[in-house]
Each structure stands twice: as C-alpha cells, then as structure tokens.
Symmetry: C2
Subunit: 228 residues, 2 copies
Amino acid sequence: MSELIRTGQPALLFDLDGTLVDSVYQHVLAWREALEHEGIGLSVWRIHRRIGMSGGLFVRALDRELGIQITAGQAERLQKLHAEGVRRRLAQIRPLPGARELLGRLTEIGVPWAIATSGRAETALEITRLLELPAGTVVITRDEVPFAKPNPDLFLAAAARLERDPRESFVVGDSVWDMLAARRASALGVGLLSGGYGREELTAAGTYRVYDDPADLLGHLDELGIRS
Amino acid sequence: MSELIRTGQPALLFDLDGTLVDSVYQHVLAWREALEHEGIGLSVWRIHRRIGMSGGLFVRALDRELGIQITAGQAERLQKLHAEGVRRRLAQIRPLPGARELLGRLTEIGVPWAIATSGRAETALEITRLLELPAGTVVITRDEVPFAKPNPDLFLAAAARLERDPRESFVVGDSVWDMLAARRASALGVGLLSGGYGREELTAAGTYRVYDDPADLLGHLDELGIRS
C-alpha cells in the first residue's frame, strides 16, 4: 500500500514587497533616483518590471537593455543609494490590506508560513516591522542565499527552515520573478495584483491562481484547499 | 464613382502622462498622499489603475470600491492636494525616450498631431514644458470639455481642432481609459507600455497595436501606415 497522501495543510512562502507590504512604487522611485544619480536614465515602468529580482541581475539587464556598462563599484553605489532612498521613504510605506490578518489566520489554523525576499536584511527587516510579525517568524533575505529570484534559492531556504517540501508549498508573490522562482522550486505560484503587474503577466509566468491582495487571498483560502 | 479614399496621413492624438512624459508614478504617489491626508487608505496599485481617468470618476470609484462617501468639499480638496503633490515632484519628471523625436518627426513629415489629457491645465501645462512643444501645438485639457476619459470628449475636441475626422486618427495612450475613450471616439487606440500597464490589459481594452514607448512607436510608424 502506498504512503498516505496528506495535502490538507501546505506551507505558504511569501514574498515581501508588493505582496505583504505596499512598497513597490517607493522601491521603483528609489531605484530611479539612484540610477539618475549615476547618470543613467531609465523609464520608471522598466524599473517597475524588474523589482523583486536580484539586484545583481537587474544591473546585468541594464547592461543588455541600455547597452550601459556598469562597473562593480558603480553597482555597489547603486545598491547603497537605493537602500538609502527606500529608508527615506519608509514613513510612506503601509502594510497591504489584509496582510496582518492573513498571517494571523494562518498561524491560528496551523499553516506554516515564512517570508522570502530578494531584498537585503538591512532594508527588508525595517519593512517587516510594519507587519508586527510574531517572534520566531522565518524571514529569509538576500544575504542568506547564493542567488536571489528568479533563482529558487530564497523559497527553497524558506521551505527548508519550515521543514517542508517546496512541492507541498505555495509561493505567494506579486512579480513575474516570484512566479518563475516558484516554478524552479517546484512550488505552485499564487499571484497578487498588489504589486502593480497585470493579471495576464502573472498568468503568463505560470501562476496557479491570481488574487487582488492579501485580503482577497484570505477570503479565498478554500480555493487553495486550505482548511481551518 | 465613389470619393477617392486617402488613408495615407492619419492624425495622431496623444495622451500626456505615461505616453509622452514619464510622470505616472509621481501622479500615483501624489494621489496616495492626498488620499491619506483625508484619512483614506488605498493601495498604490489601485490608484495606478485609475490614473488617466477623470478625477470626478476616480472619486466615484472610491465610493463604490471602498464604500467611502466623498463629499463635494473633500473631492475638491483631494484634487488640490494632488495638484500640489505633482508640482512638488515636477523636478523628478522626464520626457519618455523618443517623445520629442517622435513629435518632431511627425511635424517634419506633415502628420497632424495634438495632445489631449484628463489633467487640468495648471498641472498639464507645466508638464508639457518638458517636451519643448512647437508654438501652436494643440493641447486639450480637462478644463475645455464637459467630460474627461473614458468619455471621448478630449480626443474629439483634439481632432476637431486639427480639422480631422477622429475615424482617420490614432489615439496614442498608456492607459485602459485612453483605449476605451478612443473606441468611443471611433478612433483606433495605440497603446504604450510606458505608463506601467501590462500589454494584455491594453489589448483587452481593444487596442489596435501596442509599443513599448514613444521611441518604439517612432521606429514602427510604418506599421500604422504612416509614410514620410
């Protein structure tokens, strides 16, 4: 007889910016400011579509798309200026509707969950404060893995810390990079529109299901087969 | 014999924010600030999806989607705060790549063009300065028509000022509201991704053709049947 299959309580692995916290547009404008400081003109929508991916890959994409050679020193300055720009905008950043309630509900019904972000600890931990996370929450940042999204490392590390198989986990994110990383982690991606991507962009990246924001996901946990 | 058909030189009716000028994200955050000042919490992506539509309709959508009753006095304060917020961000706003070159090229080859924006003159005229428009450019603002987008009034007024039939015109815009207004004006909508909407969102609104930004459109004028 085969091993008993239990699919009733998958783990949820959350992205941070645009998924739990309404911070994408502040990140975008902080990047814009940093790039302009280095003499690089890049349209804001193009930056928006790169948010959530590894900063290193973002810089390589600049190389390719703008034909701009970014030196290692400049890449480091850009990351520093961006982090400063986000810190200057922290007072404008709010949790997304339903984020705290969703995490609270998952804890209450015994669904394991974690946060996994391409951001560095210094910025990400400031942002997670808005969520008033319970002690012991697993938060994996860029500093803890070799590669950020769209590589699956962040989500794999989060699943490992929860002692869960990524194949029994949902990755919840707002960006195409989250959805691509989810597929590489053999997890199913749940897309949220709250980061400003269009529904079809997320669907085209292989998303299993799309919701507006954490509040909408909280109202539809049954569709993911998550039971109280 | 039927009248000779001439389709060689259609007019182009341009939206402003997100279409010629990289100003959408600044508008979004200015609205966010104004709403918060009035005690209204609204996620940034939801504001983004309303940019370009009439301010009055935006306020009605708040009523519906948030169940918030906005008084006439509050609506007026919101518009004033938003305009102030945009003015404070003017120094961050840049023309989109290829915008000036595209308009210059159209003038050079004798294609009539105009700008039609849901914005009020006080803000819009400040923003158009970045484009260094030639004297005599037709710019239609919210103040000149009964209804802004998605009503077709702005584009109809622009076509009338150019003495062109809207059916022989392309409407170039970045938002779903531009595309819907284009259809009501019996014009074909050309969508640009530079305002941050996804390609499929524009396509679903009935867009005839989608390009990245003004530079990309300039490189593909032949696809619209526009000849030198």
